[in-house]
């Protein structure tokens, strides 16, 4: 089964500085899933649970996205531990910003079915975090599941937006037997 949160909403992180663990890495705007998933929507048995991030932008800075289950207070200072609901991280190797002429990084539509050119390098992507333990822990201790994603910027260029580095369309929760 898959759960889909349609409209991402963002609230500013309360973390003003990176933790000692992240050194000089920088926090950015935190994502909190606007919808919760009743645990009754999960099957009784599953061997693996993935959190799929769909439509992820990778045009900007390189960052770590720390994924927490049922920890809406997570920030860049939160220790990524199971007890804090940490499920895992996905990483973005970003383009760093646009170094072409105006329009270079705009994703064009294919002209027609005969247009066999490779698709644009900045097409949004999918990232998958294998989150089995965190999902099972949340399902065992709560009636609902929600996700908080904390971006921590690792590397950037003079053309990178550091305020709102993380953008994606929605999250799927997918289980496998």
């Amino acid at each position: 089964m898959a759960s889909r949160a349609k409209t991402p909403s963002r609230k500013a992180s309360r973390a003003g500085k990176a933790s000692a663990q992240t050194g000089t890495y920088r926090p950015s705007t935190v994502y909190k899933s606007p919808r919760t998933l009743p645990v009754t929507h999960l099957p009784a048995q599953y061997s693996r649970a993935d959190l799929e991030f769909i439509g992820v932008d990778h045009s900007g800075a390189s960052y770590e996205a720390r994924v927490y289950v049922n920890n809406p207070k997570a920030t860049a200072d939160t220790q990524p531990t199971v007890s804090n609901g940490y499920a895992g991280s996905y990483y973005i190797f970003g383009h760093g910003g646009c170094f072409g002429d105006i329009g270079h990084c705009d994703i064009p539509q294919k002209q027609d079915v005969f247009d066999t050119r490779p698709s644009h390098p900045l097409e949004p992507i999918k990232k998958v975090v294998i989150a089995t333990d965190a999902i099972k822990q949340a399902a065992a201790t709560s009636k609902e599941i929600h996700v908080t994603v904390v971006p921590v910027i690792m590397s950037w260029t003079e053309k990178s937006d550091l305020t709102d580095v993380m953008k994606f369309d929605h999250i799927n929760l997918v289980t496998y037997d």
Partner: protein
């Protein structure tokens, strides 16, 4: 009978091999035409952007996950270009950086790549020089690198878990995630700007790029040994790895491509 090129662990190169590798890099970095380092670095990101990451699906029913095949073809072409400029002996392939090793968890980037000078001369493995006059703004400077804390690097246990994934797409996704981390970790930042490995456009100018990708390619090879060399969606096989004269089906066997991976290699 032709012998295979052996790609060795960067920490296990002997002095003669390291000297030969440095000669190849130094000469290639001085060449500005299509035999040179600047040309090959410019194929990956700025200004040509041929590199393939993640899935490309627009205009196709094929979920084109070419991250591993494309970079295998890229490394092969780059390695040939470096060997063109290297001494005939010793015969040296691109070394791989095992960022999961105990050594890397202590030193981070291999010593061969992290010392600025060797014998009083600039170490060509320490940094490259980006010349990208058509970028906006134009770039003409040496690369920079601000690696993170070595204890953050992936562990051998993480690699073992990775190699246990049995489906190609699953394996490729998770390996690329680790790859993405290494780029951000190696580039890092100095508080005001990031290092070049951390941005796709400039990453291939940093010499450690190729040894990082050798590690990625080696892990794919190890996965192939475990799960089958032809264990890849059939729909990917005829796809072209632009701009190289190869298709996915041409890069599945590293031995057929003329190289192998070894932790160490000695001639008696």
């Amino acid at each position: 009978m032709a012998s295979l090129i052996v790609r060795k662990n960067a920490d296990n190169l002997d002095a003669a091999e390291l000297a030969a590798l440095r000669t190849g890099y130094t000469k290639a970095q001085a060449i500005m035409d299509n035999r040179g380092y600047n040309y090959f670095a410019g194929l990956h990101g700025i200004p040509n952007w041929y590199c393939w990451h993640h899935d490309h699906t627009t205009g196709s029913t094929v979920n084109a996950k070419l991250f591993l095949p494309w970079h295998r073809a890229y490394l092969l072409s780059f390695e040939r270009a470096i060997r063109d400029q290297s001494p005939a002996a010793p015969k040296v392939g691109l070394p791989w950086w095992d960022w999961s090793s105990a050594t890397s968890h202590s030193t981070g980037v291999p010593t061969a790549f992290s010392v600025a000078k060797v014998g009083g001369k600039a170490n060509p493995l320490f940094r490259g020089h980006i010349i990208a006059p058509t970028a906006t703004p134009p770039i003409n400077r040496q690369t920079r690198r601000f690696p993170g804390n070595p204890n953050q690097l992936p562990t051998a246990a993480t690699v073992a878990d990775l190699l246990n994934l049995s489906q190609f797409n699953d394996f490729s996704n998770q390996l690329e995630n680790i790859h993405d981390f290494i780029h951000g970790w190696t580039g890092g930042n100095n508080g005001s700007i990031g290092g070049d490995m951390g941005s796709l456009g400039t990453a291939a100018w940093d010499p450690i790029f190729y040894s990082h990708h050798c590690m990625i390619d080696r892990l794919w090879y190890q996965w192939q040994l475990k799960h089958g060399a032809n264990n890849i969606p059939a729909a990917l096989l005829p796809l072209v790895l632009t701009p190289f004269n190869m298709k996915v089906q041409d890069v599945l066997s590293i031995n057929a491509l003329g190289y192998e991976y070894a932790v160490s290699f000695n001639t008696l």
